[in-house]
């Protein structure tokens, strides 16, 4: 709670000192530009804090880096369910969180939602190989459904808290299994069905410490890594079994 109070004082102090900023429809406090994934990483909380020029609605769009996914579909073969077709889903963001002060459909007309990419099931995703429109639509629907089920695509109209029609704080929880890359936070101020203010910030998610070292070694010197690690595994297995055995003899 004290942290939020700090934020509040900080932002308010800021606005008082620089009156010209008060004319800006949307001011967002700078946030950290990096999230490190280390051994104890189980997810991260990202907070967006800022101020708006007066009553209005806010939409925050958090977009993860692009990711290639493979979808497969089970089909019935006699009495058995076996793996049938598989397609690749390309160019879709790995993660898409939409936060708003009210349901997005109720504050923005469809054309504007489309323009700013605020429809979960409207994310552009390329189906590879190219299929007929209705077949591709089935795969896309399944893709959105699975992404939502796994918690990577979701919409939330309660995560943004607004104080006195001015200050806003949004708490966004990122899952532990994050795609490495650049994430974008886009904040939109909406008044009477129109976007009147827009702010875009980015942060990076990267492996850190031993995680980074292991990943790099396993990729840059894969054969050496494989041989040495397998040897280590064998020696460890031997040592853990053999040493206590000798002692009891």
């Amino acid at each position: 709670m004290t942290r939020w109070l700090h934020c509040l004082l900080f932002v308010l102090g800021w606005m008082l000192q620089t009156p010209s900023w008060a004319e800006e429809p949307l001011v967002v406090a700078p946030a950290t530009s990096q999230i490190d994934i280390s051994t104890d990483f189980t997810g991260a909380d990202v907070q967006a804090v800022g101020a708006m020029s007066g009553p209005g609605d806010l939409i925050i769009k958090l977009v993860g880096p692009k990711q290639e996914a493979t979808l497969s579909r089970e089909t019935k073969l006699g009495p058995f369910w076996v793996e049938g077709d598989r397609v690749k889903m390309e160019d879709a963001p790995s993660l898409l969180f939409l936060y708003a002060t009210a349901p997005i459909v109720s504050i923005l007309p469809p054309a504007e939602q489309q323009k700013y990419g605020l429809i979960l099931e409207g994310v552009p995703v390329r189906v590879e190989p190219q299929l007929k429109a209705h077949a591709a639509a089935d795969w896309r629907k399944a893709f959105y459904r699975l992404k939502e089920k796994q918690g990577y695509y979701h919409e939330d109209d309660r995560a943004i808290r607004v104080f006195g029609n001015r200050l806003f704080i949004a708490d966004m929880r990122l899952p532990g299994d994050l795609q490495i890359g650049t994430y974008t936070i886009e904040i939109l101020l909406v008044k009477s069905g129109k976007v009147v203010g827009r702010n875009v910030t980015q942060f990076r998610v990267r492996l850190a410490g031993i995680e980074r070292w292991v990943w790099k070694t396993a990729h840059d010197h894969s054969w050496l890594f494989g041989s040495l690690f397998t040897l280590l595994a064998m020696l460890l297995g031997l040592a853990l079994n053999a040493v206590p055995y000798r002692r009891t003899r």
Partner: protein
Amino acid sequence: MAIPFGPSLSNDEILMEFFLPIAHMDVNIVLILFYGALVGFLSGLVGVGGGFLITPLLIFTGIPPIVAVSSGSAQMAGTACGASYLHWRHGNIDFKMGLILLIGSWLGGGFGVYLAKVLLRAGQFGNVVVFLYVILLGFIGVSMLIESLRAVFRAGAPAARDAAATAASKSLLRTLVERLPWQTAFPASGVHMSVVGPLLLGAAVGILTSLMGVGGGFIMVPVMIYVLKMPTKIVVGTSLFQLLFTTAAVSVMQAGINHSVDPFLALLLIFGSVLGTKLGARIGARLPAEKLRLILALVVVAVAAKMVVTLVVPPGEIYDMTVEVR
């Protein structure tokens, strides 16, 4: 965190959770240790590596299949190394048999990699593997179950049991093995047979290792017991010895080609399996052979039944998604 406006890491359950760099996800340490212990126990008890068990368990936890298969082989190499040592100290390894099996499995493994490539190109790899699992596990499990149940019920009269076993041994396969050329003696196992038998067995296991990512112990152990007629305890030791070199080779190749061996995952599994292996080996040394076989049969049948269920029961979600790890 010091920065008031930035992302902050959560402190919940940090002790129990561990982020795996290659699998690219966090897992519960206790759960993985438990998996390791379970597989180690089986390995020490009946000489199977447990690849057919650990791979599905890891995939069920959400670990990408290729990482599960690859880290599983690294773990099996570690576990098999320790367990082989214990069996060697007990004089349970027939090295002559083990080497012939190994030559066979390396040849078969090479052919299996080629076969996998052909099947992948035809888009049928996944299905072939699943049906192969069900047919092999089902056949072996049920025949072992029947045989070991009979043996357990006859356990009161050991002499009669041996006589019955000898009489039953004149199976078609056995007759065939006896007629093959290059007959030689395997003193450690107390059997006399053609080199071709174990060589073919090794090759079959090698193919399965490439296709199914398993050590093949669950195929090899029953064949050595029922077709090659080797003593159960020697079979367990020899199978582990062969498993050690097969899985080590697979682990190196998976890391080299697919970058898919997660060292932390494998290490956690090894630590878990050490406890399990010691317990398994100790109980295995005390249990009569037919009970050991009954346990293995039950495990194999259970896995096969589980696979049949997943094949037949309509899935709740017919779509499945896998994402590129980075």
